[in-house]
Symmetry: C2
C-alpha cells in the first residue's frame, strides 16, 4: 500500500467523534453480577449515582470541554449489547460456572440502554448525576468514569507533537514492563487488572492487559473489563461493590435494620452466587464494626476484599477474626485492591505468603501510570481520585464511612448517625491518591 491511505485520511477529516466507550461490555464484570441481583431483588428502588472528584485541586470543568463530554455520554447512550456479546455472556464460563446469567436476565439485558444524565458545572467541577431505577443507573458508573478520565488524557495530550507522543508511550511501556519483571520474581503471585474506571484510555488498558498476559503469564488471572476479557480470551473477574451495602443501609427503616444491613447484602448475594464469588467487602461502614457484629456463617465465605485500610493491617485483622471463628486462614482468600502498585504488592505478598491465599486487583497504577513519562510537564496526565457513587436511594441520602475517613461520602448529619450506629473504631485517615 502507499504510505498514506487517502480514503482513510479523508474519512478521518470528517470524523465527528472518536468514541471512548464503544460497547456496553466495556465495563467492570462485577457490575453485571450485581445488576442481575439488583434487578431480581430491588427492581423498584430508585438510586442516584453522582460523580465525585476527590482531587478538588484539579478543575475538571476547566480541563474538559463540555461539548465533547456530552457527545461521549450521548454516544454511550446509543449503545446496545450486540448479538455476539449476548451470545458470549450466555455461553462463557465465569468463575468456573456456566450460565451464571439467567436467560430471563439476559433477555432483559439485550434491550438495555443507559438512561439519561444530568450535567452542569459548578466551581470548576462537573456535576454529573444519574437518576432512576437502580437497575439502570448502576451501569453508568464505569462508562462515566472512563469517559471523563480519557477525555482528560486527550486534553492533556492535545499540545504534544508526534515525537513527544511517541516518547511518552515508549516510556510508559518500558515502565510497565519493568513492573512486570519485578512482579514475576514473586512465586505464586496472582494479579488481575482492575483498572477500567481510571484508565488513561481504552487502547492503553488493552495494551496493559496484553502486556501482563505476556509478561507475567500464569500470574495474570484476568481482567475486570468484560470486553477485554472477551476479546483477549482471559477470565472476567470481580465480585461486588460498596453500592450494595450503601443502598441497603439507606433503605433501612431503623437503627437495628441499619446495623443488620451489611449482612443482609451477603444473604442476598448468596442467593445468586457461590464459590469464589463469595467475597466479603467489609469496609463500607468500617471493617472493625463489620467483624465485631458479623454472624459466624460469614466465616464460611471464601474470602474478604479489604478496600480502604492499609493492606497488611487490614489483612491481619481479618485473619485474626478467622482464627477467632476457628477457621484456618490458609484455606481463605484475601483480595487486595486499594491503590496498589508494585511496592505495595511486593510488601503485602511477602508479609502474607504462606499464611493465607491472596490475590491483587491492580487498578489505577496499572492502567494510568504516566508519572515521569512525558517529555514536558503534563499535570493533566496524573491520575486523580474520581468516583461515581450512590448518593440518594428512594429520596434518602446514602452514606459510605470506609476505613479511611478521606473516602467517606454522604451528608454530614447522616454520617454522624451511621457513626453512632456502627462506631468509629480503628478508622484512620490516609491520603487518597487514586
Amino acid at each position: 500500500m502507499a504510505k498514506i491511505d487517502i480514503a482513510r485520511r479523508v474519512y478521518n477529516h470528517t470524523w465527528k467523534l472518536d468514541p471512548i466507550v464503544r460497547s456496553l461490555l466495556d465495563t467492570d464484570f462485577y457490575k453485571l453480577l450485581m445488576l442481575q441481583m439488583i434487578r431480581g431483588m430491588y427492581p423498584d428502588v430508585n438510586v442516584t449515582f453522582s460523580l465525585i472528584n476527590r482531587t478538588t485541586k484539579v478543575r475538571l470543568a476547566d480541563e474538559i470541554d463540555e461539548g465533547e463530554l456530552r457527545a461521549q455520554l450521548d454516544h454511550a447512550r446509543t449503545l446496545r449489547f450486540s448479538k455476539k456479546e449476548m451470545i458470549w455472556l450466555a455461553g462463557n464460563t465465569f468463575y468456573g460456572r456456566k450460565q451464571i446469567f439467567e436467560p430471563d436476565f439476559l433477555d432483559w439485558l439485550s434491550n438495555f440502554r443507559l438512561p439519561e444524565y444530568e450535567l452542569s458545572k459548578r466551581d470548576g467541577q462537573y456535576e454529573l448525576e444519574f437518576h432512576g431505577p437502580w437497575s439502570y443507573t448502576t451501569l453508568w458508573e464505569i462508562p462515566a468514569l472512563s469517559i471523563i478520565n480519557e477525555l482528560r488524557s486527550r486534553a492533556a495530550l492535545k499540545s504534544f507533537g508526534p515525537f513527544a507522543l511517541d516518547v511518552l508511550y515508549a516510556r510508559a511501556k518500558a515502565k510497565l514492563w519493568a513492573k512486570t519483571e519485578r512482579l514475576k520474581q514473586l512465586p505464586g503471585l496472582l494479579v488481575s487488572d482492575f483498572g477500567t474506571r481510571r484508565r488513561h484510555s481504552f487502547l492503553w488498558q488493552r495494551w496493559c492487559v496484553e502486556a501482563l498476559k505476556e509478561g507475567i503469564g500464569d500470574a495474570f488471572t484476568g481482567t475486570s473489563n468484560v470486553l477485554l476479557a472477551m476479546d483477549t480470551d482471559v477470565e472476567a473477574l470481580g465480585t461486588n461493590a460498596h453500592e450494595l451495602p450503601m443502598v441497603l443501609a439507606a433503605l433501612a427503616n431503623s437503627d437495628d435494620e441499619l446495623r443488620a444491613s451489611p449482612y443482609q447484602v451477603l444473604k442476598d448475594w448468596q442467593r445468586y452466587y457461590g464459590g469464589n464469588l463469595l467475597i466479603v467487602l467489609p469496609d463500607a461502614f468500617g471493617t472493625a464494626s463489620f467483624l465485631r457484629d458479623a454472624p459466624d456463617w460469614v466465616a464460611g465465605w471464601t474470602g474478604f476484599r479489604p478496600d480502604s485500610a492499609p493492606p497488611i493491617e487490614a489483612g491481619e485483622k481479618v485473619m485474626n477474626w478467622w482464627r477467632e471463628k476457628g477457621v484456618d486462614p490458609r484455606k481463605k482468600l484475601l483480595i487486595f485492591s486499594d491503590g496498589l502498585d508494585t511496592e505495595t504488592i511486593e510488601e503485602t505478598w511477602r508479609h502474607f505468603n504462606g499464611k493465607v491465599r491472596m490475590s491483587f486487583g491492580w487498578g489505577t497504577n496499572l492502567t494510568n501510570d504516566f508519572d515521569g513519562c512525558a517529555p514536558m510537564p503534563a499535570p493533566g496526565l496524573k491520575a486523580i481520585s474520581l468516583v461515581c457513587k450512590v448518593t440518594r436511594v428512594n429520596g434518602r441520602p446514602a452514606v459510605k464511612l470506609s476505613d479511611n475517613p478521606a473516602k467517606a461520602t454522604g451528608d454530614l448529619s447522616e454520617i454522624e448517625r451511621y457513626l453512632r450506629v456502627f462506631g468509629d473504631e480503628a478508622r484512620v485517615e490516609h491520603e487518597v491518591v487514586v
Copy 2:
C-alpha cells in the same frame, strides 16, 4: 503518533509468516453443518480429498513457492477453535434455529485439528491430498483452497510498487461498488457471499462483505464464511455440497444402491436439519436423472440449488418438475450459485421474478474480480477454476458427473459406469471459468 512505529516495523522485519488462515471458523458454514451429519452417521468412512486445478494452463507449482505453501498449511494445522468461537457456535441462531449444533458435536469440535496433508509436484502442478476419516479431511477443503488462491495473489503482487498496489485496490473497490449500484436496482433481490474458497485474500473478502452490507443493505442476506459472519454480525449461510452424494454413491454396493444414493443423502440430511436448510443439490449425477427418479416427498423440500447448468434453463426444469408434482413454484426457493456475476444475476432475476422465490450465492466474481484493475499485466490475478474434491472413499474411486461434463471428476471407467446407471440426459458442456 510518529509516522513510523519503530517497534511495529522491527516486529515486521522478523515476521516468519503472515498467516492466510488464522481461524478454523474461516471456512464455509455448510462444512460445519455437513460435518455434524458426517460425524454422526459416517464416522468410520475414509475419504481422500484432492486438489484439482481445472485451469491447467496455469502452472501453480511454478507460481507458488512450495516452502511458503507448506508453511501456510502447517500453520493451519496448529489452529484450534478458540473459546470465544466455540461459545458463539453454541449460542448463535443459525437459520432461525438455536443450538443447531449438538453439545456432543461441539465437545468433539473443540479438540478438532486439521489432519496431515500430502504434497508433491507433478508437471508444474501441485498434487495435494488429504487422507483419513471423512470427519477430519472434509474441513481441509476450504482452507486448502483459500491458502492456494491467496498465495497466488501474493505471488502476482510481489513486483507491484506501492502506487501500483494503491491503484489496483482503488479500481477493484470502484468496480465492486459499481456492481452494488446495479444490483440495488432490482427490488426484492437477495444476494449472499459464497466467495471464501476462491477469494483474492481474506482481507479483501472482508472488504467485499462489508461493502455489500453497506451497499445493498437488506438485499445482502449474509456470508458463507463463518468467521466473517461472526465478526461482521451477519447471517452465516449455506446448506450442503456435492461431497455428500459423491461419498454415498461410492459406498453403494450395487447399481440399485447407486441409483438410490442421491435420495439417501436427503433422508440423512433431514434427520439433522429442517426449514430453509432443506435445499436439494440435484446435479451431482445430472439434474435430469435426479428429477426423473426423485420420490414425491422431495417436492416437499424448501428449494433446489442448481449448480452446474445455465441458471435459467436449470431453474425452468426444476419449476416444471414442481408443477408436475402439483407444487406451486412461487412457494419454493431456487438458490443460484454457479459462476454468477452482475449480468447473470440481473438476467436470472428478471426471468424468474414473480415466478419463484430465489436467492443468489455470489462467489468468485464477488471476492476475486480484479480484471482490468492492475496498472500492468498481471495474469496471476485472474481467478482460476481450482477445486478440492472427494476422490476416494474407503479405497473406491469417487465420481461427480455434473450437468456440465467439463465439471465431471473421477476415473474414466467409473464415470462410464455412473453414466450407465444415471444416464447422460441433458448434460451439456460449458466452459468453466471459475
